[in-house]
C-alpha cells in the first residue's frame, strides 16, 4: 500500500506529488527532501525510515522518484512499481528529465490515477494504458470501444485486444545479455555471470498462440531427446528465469514448453541469469610498475576472444590513476586515449575490433609527492563493449506461431532474431 508518490528535481524542488492515502501528510514531502536529498552525507540506502514513514527512492538522471508509506509493505513490490512507472513515462514521453516531466505533468497525474488505486498498484502495462490514455486530443470513445476496453482489461487475456490485423505478419526477437566479470591480475576469474533478457516485438494478426524453444538443458532433456545431443555444447544451464505474464506457467512447469499469446508491440518476454560456461569476449592484461615515488608505468593489453568474423563495437577501457597524478603521457596502437582529470582515470576508446586480435596501451604517470602515508588502493580497470553474440551461449531454437482462426501459418510469419552481448561490470584488478 503505497501512501504517496513524489518526484523531485536535483535541487529538491517538488515536481510531482500525489498522495494516495490519508496517513501521509504534506510534511512527508519535506521530510524526504531534508533527510535524503539535502542530507549532509550521501544516503546510499534506497529505503529510509523517517519518523515511522518509509521512503523508497530511485534516481533517474537528476530526478528523484520516491514512494512513501506508513505500512509494512513489500519493498520489492514498491521498487518494481517505481521501475514500471519509469518505464511507462519513457514509453509516453521518451527520456525522463526535469523538462519532460514539467511538460507532461497533466499526463503524469492522469497516469498515476490509473496505475494506482488507494495505494495498490494496478495495471501498469503501457501497451494497454495507451489504448485509453492518449496524448492526442480528447477523443471520446464510442460505447462499443468502451465495452471492448473494459472486457479486455478485465478479461483473461488482458494484455492483448482482439481484432488486430497486419498485412505482413512479423516477429522480432532480440537476445540481450550483460556480462559481469571480476578477474584477478593473474587472469583468474573471480566471479562471472550473465544477466540476459529477450526483447520481443510482435506484429501479428488475430490471437496467435506462439511456442518458443531455447537451448536450456532442462528443457532439452525433458523433450526426451537422445542423450548425446544434450551432451553437446549447445545446451546451457540457466540458473533462474522469469517470464512475461503472457507465458503459461503451468505449461512451462509440466512440459517445459514456453507457450504464450504475445502482447502486441514491444515487450520483454523473458529474463534469465547464467553463471556457467561463459565465453568472455575480452581479456585485459594489466602491467603496473612503480618507478620510484614520483612515477608509475602502466601497460594494458586487451585481447579479443571470439570468432574472427565477428566485430566488437564501442569498446572503452577505463584505467584509474592515483589521486596524486600530476601528468600523464600516453601511447596507444589503436583507438584514442585520454587522461580525464575530473574522473581520475585514463579512458581509452576503440571503435571497432575483430575477433582474436590484441591491442595495447602504455602510459607514464607522473606523481606529486604528498604527505599522506596512505597507499594507492589500485582500483580495478573496467571495460565497456558490445559484441554481436550471446556470451552465455544462449540460442533460440525455434519459434512457432499458430493462429487457427485466421488463414496464415507459421511459414508465412517473417521472424528475425538478433543477439547482442554487452558489458555489465567488467573489471580486471591490477
Amino acid at each position: 500500500m503505497i501512501g504517496g508518490l513524489f518526484c523531485y528535481n536535483h535541487k529538491g524542488e517538488v515536481l510531482i506529488s500525489r498522495v494516495f492515502r490519508d496517513d501521509i501528510g504534506r510534511n512527508a514531502v519535506d521530510a524526504f527532501r531534508v533527510n535524503i536529498i539535502h542530507a549532509r552525507q550521501q544516503v546510499r540506502s534506497p529505503v529510509t525510515n523517517i519518523a515511522r514513514t518509509s521512503f523508497f527512492h530511485i534516481k533517474r538522471s537528476n530526478l528523484w522518484l520516491a514512494a512513501v508509506t506508513k505500512q509494512n509493505v513489500n519493498a520489492s513490490m514498491v521498487f518494481e512499481f517505481l521501475l514500471k512507472v519509469v518505464e511507462i513515462f519513457q514509453n509516453y514521453f521518451g527520456k525522463i528529465s526535469e523538462e519532460n516531466v514539467k511538460n507532461n505533468f497533466v499526463l503524469i497525474y492522469e497516469l498515476l490515477d490509473e496505475i494506482v488505486d488507494f495505494g495498490y498498484p494496478q495495471n501498469t502495462d503501457s501497451g494497454i494504458l495507451k489504448t485509453f490514455i492518449t496524448q492526442q486530443g480528447v477523443k471520446s470513445a464510442t460505447k462499443e470501444e468502451q465495452a471492448a476496453i473494459t472486457s479486455q482489461v478485465t478479461g483473461q487475456i488482458g494484455w492483448r485486444k482482439e481484432g488486430i490485423k497486419y498485412r505482413r505478419n512479423e516477429l522480432f526477437l532480440d537476445v540481450m545479455e550483460y556480462v559481469n566479470l571480476l578477474m584477478s591480475p593473474q587472469g583468474q576469474v573471480l566471479s562471472a555471470h550473465v544477466a540476459g533478457k529477450i526483447q520481443m516485438k510482435s506484429y501479428l494478426s488475430g490471437m496467435p498462440e506462439c511456442k518458443f524453444g531455447i537451448n536450456d538443458k532442462i528443457a532439452m532433456d525433458s523433450k526426451g531427446k537422445p542423450a548425446e545431443e544434450s551432451k553437446t555444447k549447445s545446451a546451457i544451464a540457466i540458473d533462474d528465469c522469469q517470464f512475461h505474464q503472457c507465458v503459461k506457467l503451468s505449461k512451462f512447469e509440466s512440459e517445459h514448453a514456453i507457450s504464450f499469446i504475445p502482447p502486441d508491440g514491444e515487450n520483454e518476454l523473458m529474463r534469465y541469469r547464467t553463471t556457467k560456461d561463459i565465453s568472455l569476449p575480452f581479456r585485459v592484461i594489466p602491467l603496473v610498475r612503480e618507478v620510484g615515488r614520483a612515477k608509475l608505468e602502466v601497460k594494458v593489453v586487451v585481447k579479443s576472444n571470439f570468432k574472427p568474423s565477428l566485430l566488437a563495437q564501442k569498446i572503452e577501457i577505463r584505467i584509474p590513476t592515483p589521486l596524486n597524478t600530476s601528468g600523464v603521457q600516453l601511447i596507444c596502437m589503436k583507438g584514442k586515449a585520454k587522461y580525464k582529470a575530473s574522473e581520475n582515470a585514463i579512458v581509452w576508446k576503440i571503435k571497432r575490433m575483430g575477433g582474436m586480435k590484441e591491442s595495447q596501451i602504455s602510459a607514464e604517470i607522473e606523481l606529486l609527492t604528498t604527505d599522506t602515508k596512505k597507499k594507492w588502493t589500485r582500483p580495478p580497470i573496467s571495460m565497456n563493449f558490445e559484441v554481436p553474440f550471446a556470451p552465455s551461449g544462449f540460442k533460440v531454437r525455434y519459434l512457432k506461431v499458430f493462429e487457427p482462426k485466421l488463414n496464415y501459418s507459421d511459414h508465412d510469419v517473417i521472424k528475425w532474431v538478433r543477439y547482442i552481448g554487452r558489458s555489465g561490470l567488467y573489471e580486471t584488478r591490477c
Binding site: 537528476n62 596524486n324 582529470a341 581520475n344 609527492t369 604528498t370 604527505d371 599522506t372
Partner: protein, 932 residues
C-alpha cells in the same frame, strides 16, 4: 583580507563560481578533481611559479579543503609563501598552515623557522601575523618553540601596542595548552604591571591573560589586586569622553571593566584597607551610575551598562563583606525584577538567589517576595519562572515559609511540566524544614500529592510517613486527613500508598467515628485496590493484615480479600506470597502472636531529609541554590534505641547509609531474598576504615558473608586490637586464615604481634583474634589485614587495612592558654608546621560533631584559651618507644566562606603533615553518632 581592486584572484573567483553553479554533487566532485589535477601539474611543473600564482593555488586548495575534501599536498608551497614580503601572500600562507598543518608534520621545523624570522621582523604586521598563527595552531610544539620569546615580546619596551596585545592573547592560548609555558619569578611582576599600561587594548588583553594565570596560581599574582582596583577606579570615575576609542555607547571600556571585576572575584576581599576602600568606592560608583538616566536610547548602551553592573554585583556577592553594598545591590536588582527585558529579569532573579544566601542581604531580598511571586504567576518565559522558583526557595525562612509554600502549591497546579518535579521537591523540603506545626506539614504534603502526584518521588512520601510515625501528636490528624483525601473520586496512586500505610498504622485512631468505621476504611481502601500497580497492592495487603490486628471485627472481610483469586492466585509472586502468608497469619487463633507480629512500626531514626536534597542536586547538577541553613532545632533528637553494646552483635545495624531508609520493609519486593547470600560476596560491601581515625570500636568491614569488627585499647605506646570475625551465613568458613602484615617501611616503625586462630568458623558464629601493636617510631601507613577462607567451596579473600594509625598513641594533654601559646611559638619552624585550608562539607554550626571528632582522634580539646571563641585548639603527646612527640593543633573556621583552616605543629615534620591530611578528610566525613 583587504579587498584591493586588482589584487583579487580571478582564477579563484571563477573556480568558486563554477562550484556554486554545479547542479549535482557528482558534477561538483568532477570539477574539484579537475582543479586538483591542474594544481598538481602546476606544482609539479618545472618552471617556477611566481608568488601570485602560488597564492592563488594555495587559496584554491584551502577552499577545496573547506568544502570537505582531503588535501594532502601544497604544504611546501604554503610554507614558501611565508617567506614572501607581500602581506597578502604571507597572510594566505599563514592561513593555510593554521588550518591544514597537523602537529606532527615534517614541515613543522620549516614553519617554526619562518615564524621565528617573522617574530624578529621590524614590520609589526609580520609579527602580528606570526603571533596569530602560533595562537591558531596552539599546540604543545608551538608552546615549546616560542614559550621563551613571546613573554619577552610582551614586556619589551619597544614593542608596539598592537603587537603587545596580540602577544598577550597568544600567550594566553599557549598557556591553556601548556601551563608550564609561563616563566615564573621576575616575569610575574612585569606581566602584572601590564595592567598599568597606557594603551587600553593592551590592558584588556593582559586582563584576560592574568585572569587565567591567577586561576592557576593565585598567590603568585596577588599583586594584581591593587593594580586592578586602581585601574578600575580610573575607568569608573572617568567620564566617557576620556577613552575615545574604548568608549562603547557612552560606557567607558565596558569589556575591560567586566574583566577586571572578574579578575577580582578570584581573590577574597582585599586586606589592605586603602585598596579595600577604593574598591568599595568603585563598586558604589558603578551602582550610582546605573541609577543615572541613560545617555542613549540604544540597546547597546544599556547592555554595556548592565553588563558592568551585573559583574559588579557578582563581585559584591563574592566579597560578601559590605552589608550596605549588598543591600544596595539587592535593591537595584529589585528594580530589574519588573523590567521589560526578559534577560534582565532572568539575571536579576539569578543574582538574587545568591544574594539570598548571604546573611547581610537575606532580609533585603525578602522585601521583594511579592514581586517574585507575581513574576511566577505572570511571567511568560519558563526559564525565568524557573529562576523565580529558585529564588523563592532561597529566600524562604521561618517567617515566610508558610506563605511561600502556599504560593508554590498554588502555582504548582498551573506550573510548566518541566519544572514540576523540582518544585515538588522544593516544596517538600521547605515544608519539612520550616514546619512549626506538623499538621500543616501533613496538609502540605498531601496537597502536593493531590496536585502533582506524578512528580512526587518516593523519597517525598517515605518522608511524610517517617515523620507521621515518629510524631505521636499528628498521627490522629494524619489518619483523618488521608481518610478524607482518599474519598475523592480519583486520587493519585501515591496518595493511596500514603493512605494505605497511615490507615494501616493509625486507622484505629479514627475508628470511633461512625463515618470512618473500620469497615468503611477497608471498603474505601479496597475500592482503589484494583486501579493500583502491584507495588501498591502489596502495600495495601499489608495494610489489610494490620486491620486484622486493629479491628478483629472485620477479620472475615479481610480474609475474603486475601482468598480472592486475584490475590491468592495472583500472577505476581509477591502478591501471591503476601496473600497466602497473611491469610495463614490471620487464621492463627492466638491473638498474642498476631498482636506481636503486627505491632505498630517502631519510630524511624531521626535525620534530615538529606535524601531529598541529594535528589534535588542530582536533578540540577551544578546549579542548585541552597536554602541557607537557618534551621531551627525543631527536630529534637530522640534517644535512639541502642543495641546492647557488649562487644559486638552481628545484628547491630551500625550505619544506615543514605537518606532514604527503606521504610517499606514490606513495601519493596526485595530481589534476592531467601536465596541466601551470593557466594562471591559481591553484595553490599561496607568498609569503614576512614571512620576509625576518630573511633576505636565498631564494624570495620562488612559484606554479605562476613562481618569484621574491631575493638581497640591503647595505653602510651602500646595498643591492643581485638578483631571480631562474624560468619553471617549458614555455612561454616573453612581454612580461615587471617594474615596481618606491615610493609617493610612500616615494620620498622611498629611491632605487630598476632595471635593464631582456628581455621574453621562455624555458621553464624563469631570469634575474636587479638593483635598487639607497639609503636617504635612515628609512621603514616596502616598495616594490612589479608583474609583468606573457603566459603561453600569457593575461595574468598578480603584485603583491608587495620585501623592503627599514629593518633592511637596520642595522649591528650591539658594545658592553659599561656603554656599552649608559648609552646605554639616554639614550634614555629616552617618544617614543623603543616597547614591546610579546605571547604566545609557540613554545616559549621555543628560544633559538637567537630569537637567529638577532634577528641575521638585523640587530642585534648582546650576550650576558652584562644582569643576567638570559634576556634578549636587541641594538644596531645604522641608516645613512641624512643621518644615523645608533642603535637599542637588549631582549627579556625571561617563561617562566611564556609572554609576551615587547619594548622598542626609538632616537633616531627612527617607527623604534622600526616595529621593534617587525615584530619582534613575526617572532618569532612558524615558524622556518626556512635563515636565513643
Amino acid at each position: 583580507m583587504p579587498a584591493v581592486r586588482g589584487d583579487g584572484m580571478r582564477g579563484l573567483a571563477v573556480f568558486i563560481s563554477d562550484i556554486r553553479n554545479c547542479k549535482s554533487k557528482e558534477a561538483e566532485i568532477k570539477r574539484i578533481n579537475k582543479e586538483l589535477a591542474n594544481i598538481r601539474s602546476k606544482f609539479k611543473g618545472d618552471k617556477t611559479l611566481d608568488g601570485y600564482q602560488k597564492k592563488k593555488y594555495v587559496c584554491k586548495l584551502l577552499f577545496i579543503f573547506l568544502l570537505g575534501h582531503d588535501i594532502d599536498f601544497g604544504q611546501i608551497e604554503a610554507v614558501n609563501l611565508l617567506s614572501s614580503n607581500k602581506y597578502t601572500e604571507k597572510q594566505i600562507g599563514y592561513l593555510f598552515i593554521s588550518v591544514l598543518i597537523s602537529g606532527n608534520s615534517e614541515l613543522i621545523q620549516l614553519i617554526v623557522q619562518s615564524i621565528k624570522n617573522d617574530l624578529a621582523s621590524r614590520n609589526p604586521v609580520h609579527v602580528s601575523l606570526a603571533l596569530q598563527c602560533i595562537a591558531n595552531i596552539g599546540s604543545k610544539d608551538m608552546a615549546e618553540a616560542f614559550g621563551q620569546e613571546i613573554p619577552k615580546l610582551l614586556v619589551s619596551g619597544d614593542t608596539l601596542d598592537v603587537v603587545k596585545q596580540s602577544a598577550a592573547l597568544c600567550l594566553l592560548r599557549l598557556f591553556r595548552t601548556d601551563p608550564s609555558v609561563i616563566p615564573s619569578g621576575e616575569w610575574t611582576s612585569r606581566i602584572v604591571h601590564l595592567l598599568n599600561d597606557q594603551h587600553m587594548g593592551v590592558v584588556t588583553a593582559a586582563a584576560s591573560l592574568i585572569d587565567a594565570l591567577v586561576k592557576k596560581n593565585p598567590e603568585e599574582y596577588k599583586g594584581c589586586i591593587s593594580l586592578a582596583v586602581s585601574r578600575l577606579s580610573r575607568i569608573v570615575t572617568s567620564s566617557y569622553t576620556d577613552f575615545q576609542d574604548y568608549t562603547y555607547y557612552f560606557v567607558p571600556a565596558p569589556w575591560l571593566s567586566v574583566k577586571l571585576l572578574r579578575l577580582l572575584q578570584n581573590y577574597p576581599p582585599p586586606e589592605d584597607p586603602g585598596v579595600r576602600g577604593r574598591l568599595s568606592e568603585c563598586l558604589e560608583t558603578i551602582l550610582n551610575k546605573a541609577q543615572e538616566p541613560p545617555k542613549s536610547k540604544k540597546i547597546q548602551h544599556s547592555n554595556a551598562k548592565n553588563a558592568v553592573l551585573f559583574e559588579a554585583i557578582s563581585l559584591i556577592i563574592h566579597n560578601d563583606s559590605e552589608p550596605n553594598l549588598l543591600v544596595r545591590a539587592c535593591n537595584q536588582l529589585g528594580q530589574f525584577l519588573s523590567h521589560r527585558e526578559t534577560n534582565l529579569r532572568y539575571l536579576a532573579l539569578e543574582s538574587m538567589c545568591i544574594l539570598a544566601t548571604s546573611e547581610f542581604s537575606h532580609e533585603a531580598v525578602k522585601k521583594h517576595q511579592e514581586t517574585v511571586i507575581n513574576a511566577l504567576k505572570t511571567e511568560r518565559d519558563v526559564s525565568v519562572r524557573q529562576r523565580a522558583v529558585d529564588l523563592l526557595y532561597a529566600m524562604c525562612d521561618k517567617s515566610n515559609a508558610e506563605e511561600i509554600v502556599l504560593e508554590m502549591l498554588a502555582y504548582l497546579e498551573t506550573a510548566d511540566y518541566s519544572i514540576r518535579e523540582e518544585m515538588v521537591l522544593k516544596v517538600a523540603i521547605l515544608a519539612e524544614k520550616y514546619a512549626t506545626d506538623y499538621k500543616w506539614y501533613v496538609d502540605v504534603i498531601l496537597n502536593l500529592i493531590r496536585l502533582a502526584g506524578d512528580y512526587v518521588s518516593e523519597e517525598v512520601w517515605y518522608r511524610v510517613i517517617q515523620i507521621v510515625i515518629n510524631r505521636d501528636d499528628v498521627q490522629g490528624y494524619a489518619a483523618k486527613t488521608v481518610f478524607e483525601a482518599l474519598q475523592a473520586q480519583a486520587c493519585h496512586e501515591n496518595m493511596v500508598k500514603v493512605g494505605g500505610y497511615i490507615l494501616g498504622e493509625f486507622g484505629n485512631l479514627i475508628a470511633g467515628d461512625a463515618r470512618s468505621s473500620p469497615a468503611v476504611q477497608l471498603q474505601l481502601l479496597h475500592s482503589k485496590f484494583h486501579l493500583c500497580s502491584s507495588m501498591t497492592r502489596a502495600l495495601l495487603l499489608s495494610t489489610y493484615v494490620k486491620f486484622v490486628n486493629l479491628f478483629p471485627e472485620i477479620k472475615s472481610h479481610v480474609e475474603e480479600i486475601f482468598v480472592a483469586d486475584s490475590n491468592l492466585r495472583s500472577a505476581d509472586a509477591e502478591l501471591q506470597q503476601r496473600a497466602s502468608e497473611y491469610l495463614a497469619l490471620s487464621k492463627l487463633t492466638s491473638l498474642d502472636v498476631l498482636a506481636t507480629v503486627l505491632e505498630e512500626m517502631p519510630p524511624f531514626p531521626e535525620k534530615e531529609s538529606s535524601g531529598l536534597l541529594n535528589l534535588l542536586k542530582k536533578k540540577r547538577p551544578g546549579r542548585v541554590i541552597e536554602n541557607p541553613d537557618r534551621l531551627d532545632e525543631h527536630v529534637k533528637k530522640e534517644p535512639r534505641e541502642t543495641n546492647g553494646t557488649s562487644g559486638l552483635t552481628l545484628a547491630s545495624n551500625t550505619e544506615q547509609e543514605g537518606g532514604s531508609a527503606d521504610l517499606l520493609g514490606l513495601g519493596v519486593p526485595s530481589a534476592g531474598n531467601g536465596n541466601g547470600p551470593t557466594t562471591n560476596g559481591a553484595g553490599a560491601v561496607t568498609n569503614n576504615i576512614q571512620k576509625f581515625y576518630c573511633k576505636n570500636n565498631g564494624v570495620l568491614y562488612e559484606n554479605d558473608i562476613i562481618q569484621i569488627g574491631v575493638k581497640t585499647e591503647c595505653r602510651s605506646n602500646l595498643a591492643r586490637l581485638a578483631l571480631f570475625y562474624g560468619n553471617k551465613t549458614n555455612h561454616p568458613f573453612m581454612n580461615f586464615q587471617p594474615n596481618v602484615s606491615a610493609s617493610p617501611a612500616l615494620s620498622l616503625a611498629i611491632l605487630l604481634q598476632v595471635k593464631q586462630v582456628d581455621s574453621t568458623v562455624e555458621a553464624g558464629a563469631q570469634f575474636q583474634q587479638m593483635v598487639n601493636v607497639e609503636c617504635v617510631n612515628d609512621f603514616d601507613e596502616q598495616p594490612d589485614l589479608n583474609l583468606v577462607y573457603n566459603y561453600n567451596g569457593a575461595p574468598q579473600t578480603v584485603n583491608i587495612k587495620l585501623p592503627i594509625s599514629i593518633n592511637k598513641f596520642i595522649e591528650p594533654t591539658e594545658m592553659n592558654g599561656e603554656a599552649f601559646f608559648s609552646r605554639w611559638k616554639n614550634l614555629s619552624l616552617p618544617a614543623q608546621e603543616s597547614q591546610k585550608i579546605f571547604k566545609a562539607a557540613h554545616p559549621m554550626e555543628a560544633t559538637d560533631s567537630t569537637k567529638a571528632k577532634l577528641i575521638g582522634y585523640g587530642f585534648q580539646l582546650l576550650e576558652n584559651i584562644d582569643p576567638n571563641p570559634d576556634n578549636y585548639v587541641c594538644a596531645g603527646i604522641i608516645h613512641t618507644r624512643s621518644l615523645q612527640i608533642g603535637c599542637l593543633l588549631r582549627l579556625e573556621p571561617n563561617k562566611q566562606a564556609q572554609m576551615y583552616r587547619l594548622t598542626t605543629r609538632s616537633s616531627v615534620e612527617a607527623v604534622s603533615q600526616h595529621i593534617t591530611s587525615v584530619l582534613c578528610e575526617t572532618l569532612n566525613l558524615p558524622f556518626n553518632n556512635q563515636v565513643e
